[in-house]
């Protein structure tokens, strides 16, 4: 990995990004705005599942409202993240914290996708507040915790490379 990271670092693209002093901060800010969309969407959906917010709205309405923001956020996150990796490969690819972040990201995306599929199949089940609602709530809370973990490890990259 180190040799690969070094190779990327030596490319003219990588150098060009690093040499434009405002570029990395600017791309980080866009990356952060994308994460704001994602985390807020995930929190609002989970709050609805837990019956803590938007109780006047159906589960389907809330999902339709917020899931597009989540997926749009991911669409922005990917290219900005890739540019940041190209700009500073050792800080990312060579850093265990970064790989923890990627692992959590993969899991969070999988959870979100399976939630969306499940909701499409049986929206009513997600409205259920009875005793069987427990596993679904745990599922929803886990996804929020993962997103928060992604934010945390994202910040920790700066401390651990």
């Amino acid at each position: 990995m180190s040799a690969f990271a070094q190779w990327i670092s030596d490319t003219s693209l990588s150098l060009a990004i690093r040499e434009t002093f405002w570029l990395i901060p600017m791309i980080q800010i866009v990356h952060i705005v994308a994460i704001v969309m994602i985390v807020t969407a995930a929190v609002m959906i989970t709050a609805r599942i837990a019956g803590l917010a938007s109780r006047t709205q159906t589960m389907r309405e809330i999902a339709q409202r917020f899931l597009p923001w989540l997926w749009t956020g991911l669409v922005i996150l990917a290219p900005t993240g890739i540019v940041l990796i190209i700009a500073e490969p050792q800080r990312t690819l060579g850093n265990p914290t970064f790989w923890w972040k990627m692992a959590m990201l993969a899991l969070a995306v999988a959870i979100t996708a399976s939630f969306q599929v499940s909701l499409r199949r049986d929206a009513a089940a997600w409205e259920d507040h009875g005793p069987k609602a427990g596993p679904r709530r745990i599922f929803a809370v886990s996804s929020v915790l993962l997103w928060l973990g992604i934010v945390a490890t994202g910040r920790l990259i700066a401390y651990t490379y």
């Binding site: 901060p25 980080q28 952060i32 705005v33 929190v43 609002m44 006047t56 409202r65 945390a152 920790l156």
Partner: protein, 169 residues
């Protein structure tokens, strides 16, 4: 201004500030809480702002949406303010002198004034534009100003991170 410098230096020398500055874990941990909180402040206020601009949640009454979402905004803001204060005291002088930090504070003040004007004046007539009709221009302006201010806060906050850095261990 000397009293300000004196105050800042005193803040930095408090046991609390020193413990944050000198601990390898405290600063990053508080910073992470701060970042998560600010993420939720911006995200939730954007939900309301987009409604005011007619760009989101259009099926919901403004009053109902505000009642539903704003408590989260305030809770997140409280956590952001407390964690922010803890971060601030650990390097008070450097932050106070930093132009990006000052811009961040200025934009938050602007957001606060914008909110006060909206709540105290514009919102009084909300019954007329609560649902189904476009929000009055003053309300749309408030939504736009709020989005710009908070986006600016996020941007300058990132710039502060770049320019001030973390406490030297």
């Amino acid at each position: 201004m000397e009293t300000m410098t004196g105050l800042l230096k005193w803040l930095e020398s408090t046991p609390l500030a020193l413990s944050i500055a000198q601990s390898t874990i405290a600063f990053p941990a508080i910073e992470i809480v701060h970042v998560i909180a600010i993420t939720l402040v911006f995200g939730t206020i954007a939900i309301v702002d987009l409604r005011l601009l007619g760009l989101g949640s259009k099926n919901r009454a403004v009053t109902e949406l505000c009642r539903d979402v704003l408590p989260w905004t305030w809770a997140a803001f409280g956590i952001a303010a407390i964690s922010g204060a803890l971060l601030f005291i650990s390097q008070a002088t450097q932050y106070a002198e930093n132009p990006a930090f000052r811009m961040k504070m200025l934009l938050m003040l602007a957001a606060g004034i914008n909110m006060a004007v909206f709540e105290l004046i514009t919102f009084r007539g909300v019954a007329k534009w609560d649902r189904d009709v476009p929000v009055v221009p003053a309300g749309r302006l408030a939504g736009a100003v709020s989005l710009v201010c908070w986006l600016g806060v996020v941007g300058f906050a990132r710039w502060v991170g770049f320019t001030v850095g973390v406490p030297e261990q």
